[in-house]
Symmetry: D2
Subunit: 470 residues, 4 copies
Amino acid sequence: MALRTPDEYRAGLRDGRSLYYRGKPVDDLSSVPELQVAVDHAAIDFELAEDPAHRDLAVVVDPDSGAESSAFYRIPRSADDLLARCRLIEATTGAGGTVVTLIKEIGTDAMFALMRKLAGEERERAEAFWRHCRDGDLAVAVAQTDAKGNRSVGPNEQEDPDLYVRIVDQSDEGIVVRGAKCHTTSSANADELIVLPTRAMGPDDADYAVAFAIPIATDGLSLYVSAYSGREHNEFEFPVSSRHKLLETLTVFDDVFVPWERVFCFRQPELAGPLALTFVEYHRFTAVSYKLPLLDAFVGTAALITEMNGVAKAGHIRDKLTRLVTYSETVRALTEAAALRGRVDGDIAYPDPMTTNMAKFTFATGYYEAVEWLQDCAGGLLVTGPSGDDWDSPEVRAVLEKYFRAAAPAEARLRVMNLISDLTARDLGGYHAVLAVHAEGSIEAEKMQILRAYDSDRAISYSRRLAGLD
Amino acid sequence: MALRTPDEYRAGLRDGRSLYYRGKPVDDLSSVPELQVAVDHAAIDFELAEDPAHRDLAVVVDPDSGAESSAFYRIPRSADDLLARCRLIEATTGAGGTVVTLIKEIGTDAMFALMRKLAGEERERAEAFWRHCRDGDLAVAVAQTDAKGNRSVGPNEQEDPDLYVRIVDQSDEGIVVRGAKCHTTSSANADELIVLPTRAMGPDDADYAVAFAIPIATDGLSLYVSAYSGREHNEFEFPVSSRHKLLETLTVFDDVFVPWERVFCFRQPELAGPLALTFVEYHRFTAVSYKLPLLDAFVGTAALITEMNGVAKAGHIRDKLTRLVTYSETVRALTEAAALRGRVDGDIAYPDPMTTNMAKFTFATGYYEAVEWLQDCAGGLLVTGPSGDDWDSPEVRAVLEKYFRAAAPAEARLRVMNLISDLTARDLGGYHAVLAVHAEGSIEAEKMQILRAYDSDRAISYSRRLAGLD
Amino acid sequence: MALRTPDEYRAGLRDGRSLYYRGKPVDDLSSVPELQVAVDHAAIDFELAEDPAHRDLAVVVDPDSGAESSAFYRIPRSADDLLARCRLIEATTGAGGTVVTLIKEIGTDAMFALMRKLAGEERERAEAFWRHCRDGDLAVAVAQTDAKGNRSVGPNEQEDPDLYVRIVDQSDEGIVVRGAKCHTTSSANADELIVLPTRAMGPDDADYAVAFAIPIATDGLSLYVSAYSGREHNEFEFPVSSRHKLLETLTVFDDVFVPWERVFCFRQPELAGPLALTFVEYHRFTAVSYKLPLLDAFVGTAALITEMNGVAKAGHIRDKLTRLVTYSETVRALTEAAALRGRVDGDIAYPDPMTTNMAKFTFATGYYEAVEWLQDCAGGLLVTGPSGDDWDSPEVRAVLEKYFRAAAPAEARLRVMNLISDLTARDLGGYHAVLAVHAEGSIEAEKMQILRAYDSDRAISYSRRLAGLD
Amino acid sequence: MALRTPDEYRAGLRDGRSLYYRGKPVDDLSSVPELQVAVDHAAIDFELAEDPAHRDLAVVVDPDSGAESSAFYRIPRSADDLLARCRLIEATTGAGGTVVTLIKEIGTDAMFALMRKLAGEERERAEAFWRHCRDGDLAVAVAQTDAKGNRSVGPNEQEDPDLYVRIVDQSDEGIVVRGAKCHTTSSANADELIVLPTRAMGPDDADYAVAFAIPIATDGLSLYVSAYSGREHNEFEFPVSSRHKLLETLTVFDDVFVPWERVFCFRQPELAGPLALTFVEYHRFTAVSYKLPLLDAFVGTAALITEMNGVAKAGHIRDKLTRLVTYSETVRALTEAAALRGRVDGDIAYPDPMTTNMAKFTFATGYYEAVEWLQDCAGGLLVTGPSGDDWDSPEVRAVLEKYFRAAAPAEARLRVMNLISDLTARDLGGYHAVLAVHAEGSIEAEKMQILRAYDSDRAISYSRRLAGLD
């Protein structure tokens, strides 16, 4: 059990995995600049553990052996542990320039869920896998969302039976699975992959009720990396996305063999829903934790750019700043409350589901309006400004310096403008927005969970008493 | 130092105070039925202290003397004390049918503010007054909002100098004040009145920089009670407002003498703003605490009536229920967070100003939409239903029972319908709504405080780092 | 064929009808003050026809005979006719103090729908009834919404079969009906009552597929008048509701006989949905037409009170005024567009359904926020102000005049304040709000109609072309 | 006077103009692929005039001479002319894939404003310039927004006097100007440039009160083209932005000489505000006209993708579709109403300012929420989907076809998904969003104009009557 260095992490990715990018197989992530950006971004997780400023948050030392492990792998036992996990995720994402690293967050979300919902031998397998990952300081992705096909019918009713990942064979050694998962984040640059069911299932869906874990470099597993935002980004124009990036894959299982010790759920449809739900309970808490740096960046850039434009004192600007603060800080307060209201199930703590979902719902439903306020504060220069090449040309830069100064020098103003543009008005902006609505569960899913988790006794009995019914 | 009984409280109000109602002087509140409703409503405060179920929350026992006093008078020393105060206010208001009693809440808000902001002799006077009220278990109102006249100019620029309460004379014994305060809640049924400045003031406003306390039965002090919602209410039609009511007065000071030991601020304009602000810091926390039962009633009645109408499973109804839950529980979570983030100033704790104002702002700006959802859930019967007299007529009741049954018997359904109507679609509904926007400070005032109290360092320094400026 | 005078209308209501109010039978509407207010309010319709300023709008002169009839009875043949009808409804409601008179609007909405959807003998009966009403200058109510019982099941599945109005017998002379309708507006003070189905029906609902018309004074028909807002209102405090009021009834059919010439739909379930829908097409256009004076009053009172308070120039006030204007004028523009886009079906014109529903939806979903803006502009005095009795007392009035003046004298300011309070924060306010959401169809019903009426061809074919699919 | 062909337009741009792109001078737009996309996009204007399907809309034939000219140059004389102009702009932008061509729209907006506001010799100069452009079938850009510097102070108070374009010299032949304008759309690919003041000015700003027109190829005029979204776009991934693009420039006047016959406003500060305002009156009408295809694309792609995903019947999806329809069709109805309410000033018609601004305000303030609804309807694949290179690889395409099919084949679904992504979640999406808020005037400017243009007489006099004041 030891922490890995960033370079050890990078080296581990050269393992023969089957990757495709822009129509071609990729042998080595470092051969494609934008993929390398994603690897370097993920390596921040390992850098933080080495950073004295973050060690206390990021590293757990075993009191007996003195062995060190990543704090992401610490099983939460209390509200305080949940709060510490929130702070760790916030700090890591902050170092990631508002982009979560997601190579340990999501994997441990899944492991905690598996440990809570499984029993007997399956639970032992899950714990063994958790120890394996913790002791190897591994990067772990989770594939949950299936290809799904026609959303109006379930897994076993699709014309093509492979549209949800399913068991196609079994033997004394293990099982064989086929199908595909979508939107799998960080799989291309992870070491291991956990596969979970995406929804509740009925008896006819038994073939689809499967959960397991495999190394990324497994025969039959192919990752098709999305090219969204896949291009080289000039640092002046794209201060964040030039250095920070996630990779999503279409994750195809072409008769992949999984040994029994890595199988957590096998043809138990009644377990599919609870596993899916328990995972997202943790994962939505991870989500709201990692959104906090982005929200800080919204408030901070709005404050900076309005000051630099010379409009910070205007009434309507102050109104927008106040609304940005209220939005951002309400998400933060609800996230903290979700941790503080955390409860313990057996020996594992989990954040309060209603409060977690309210935090996520508040974030998601307020996001687009917050973008509007921020862009309104900044100005049209977000999409009409100069490029990094312009800035690098001494002749052009002189013109820009003369004409883009305001209540601040042109350079500072353009850098903040580009930051806002990068975060909200270009590819990364679209990515952040679509994630707000779709990642870690849809708005509709969050609404369903809020209502389900809300304990209506107090409100109903009080109302009955007021109405004179009790 | 001893607790008073409800009847002792009622008896104390017969003290020769100068009250006017509907154009006529009122010698005894009990002579006018709707005023008596307000007195009985306020008496709930004293009933709760006698109720074994609430004693722990409502009564403080001096560990040395064993003397008992109202928990409202406990000076908060910690976040836990603030949370306990929140629970006490919530419980009292719950017993008050969503209507706060406000005979100790607001007074102690003012006393805590005075004790925090005053020094020297003035602080001693404030403490003496606090002991006097606590030991006498008194009911205390606060008059803050002045008549104000033309809002585009300040106190000293009004055509009539009396539109803000001002000092017109002074002597060795004390001062003489003249003017009027508006919207003074519970003054008609309180024992004492605290007077505070309503806003920040400049050097020219020195005459208006005054704070003091007097008994309601003081020469020259006249209370003109508002007749809003002033009529007898049938219990079937008005389940809440038939039993619960607040009184507001135009509070006129016609050369009222105040002895020096009751004067807290005398011609110190620089103290006016801080006193006003510190008071509303506490008072907005009181406000969000007392809104919680109303929010519970919104959620609970929406759940009940949709079940009774047979529409609880419809998608759009579930959507509205979820939004009501999220609105209500976000205010609750922010209120709790305001207490938990409480800080100590000297030896007195206060709730976090930013979080308190966010809770109030969230409550106020979401209120009308919440009313819409609830009324949408209930149906048009809210304003077309039968009266209590109809229900009391056996002949008519038989018709109503036949035709107003749905997925519940007619009586239960009509009682819940009337409750919703009372809370949202009649006088009490209008009162709750206008209070949401105007009481304890306007929406604009809350916005200003959010921005002022927000510590922007984290967000700005993070944004500067992302932009490459630091 | 001749116009009736207001007094002829009043006299016609003394016809032995069976009315109940507050648990007791009422022989004569004029014996109960608040019922008399409603009759006098409805009489405005007849007053307008006599008023030279409105004659052109309100009266149609037969070019051949010179006979005069109410313009409400003019069958629309063109977009211009629809626009003229909109103006007439707006003018009548304006004279009604923001409260529609609804004694000819809704009846003609129903007649136009019957004439459009019926054929053969039934259409002749509908036309004969229309001529009867027009020539007699009659007041006509429409009962559509059934008692409904448990909303999760249909008419024929209710435990009590009478919860929707149904045919219980038939003979050569006519039919016999039993059941009850709710929320029937103006029935207590109308001459005739049209009964329409409330929803689409299936073959099993044949007994419930019935439409007909009867005089109010018909054996077995009993009207139970709602007491909502039923009290005497002081004119100073309640400038509108002291003079303007609608009556709603629970309308009970206790084996009522209807002769064949008054039966429009008899056991034709396939006709129930189209009749219901065609009626609301007209009726929602009536609705948005009669909302315009209320919207003007919102904008006008907001402008007046902010001027009087001395805050009209504040940035946030201008923001709220602008939003009120935009809300109000968007409803107006959509209402006009609904008329201008009117189409002709056979020989009867009807407003564009999508645009009509968008106007109604915009009105309904924006209403509560508009109330918030207006109340925010006005101030807390809306619910803490003095009564008419206070104003009538010379002693008290002197105090009010001194202390409630602002940038305007106290009287003008208090009158505008009371107007806003009456329109938004008391019984009439609750009535207007609940009507916004529930009257003339719910928000959900409007949404369904918008989507159904929207012609998606342009948008879809354009999108397919852009996507390279066509 | 004759129409030009697309190639004549392209050839005209090779005139020695001074362009910079990505830090380097550009001699020929066609040498840079993304600039060529913009030129080809603009050429759509000329293609439409040749297209039989659009000739009636796009071409005006002089009844006397038979000479043809672009319909953009037709001076509106009536509401019908305004409506025809709206239709022309909508059709051109529709052909432009939701991106306005803007090489005649904005220029004529400015010319109509100049002709309305100028008198005497200046008006003759404006008319001569209009004839020159019309007869030459020229492309004309407008530079209005100055560099502005510190927004908290005006033109003459900036530290650098050149931050607003100003007159630095004059002679018998003409004037010399210096400074810079921002966000100048289509200047890089136009023939002529009109320069207008950006705001109201005072006497001290006389040097800045200047309006004129010059050819793009004028000595001292340099255009620095923004590189936003400047890259080659694969057609499969970027169905719109691969073919449609606008160019914005920082437009620098380095002591540019303007002959008197091209000077429209010379040191007349009192004319600056009216010119700026009258221009935006026309230009906001242009704006809402050209937004209509984008709104259609929102509704159409939402309908297509939900059908293809198999979720079109879900309640929450229908809710979002309905809201998209209502948003889109409200903007359309207001735009039509702005034309139909058009008025004539002298002999030139203009759209109703209040209604135009309401249309623009409704568009701008609803835009981000509409994006949310559309992205919510579509799914996360918007930002995790495959690239054009993936699609072009037979091996990968087979996998995509298997796993991305839903209720439609993978290809159709991916094409619609990419269309939505292009319009909302990538560079063009950010461009559309920022334009919604900032182009043709800010939201605050629109609000100011709504309130200014609203005729409050009806509402105020009605409210006074209701309050008993008149």
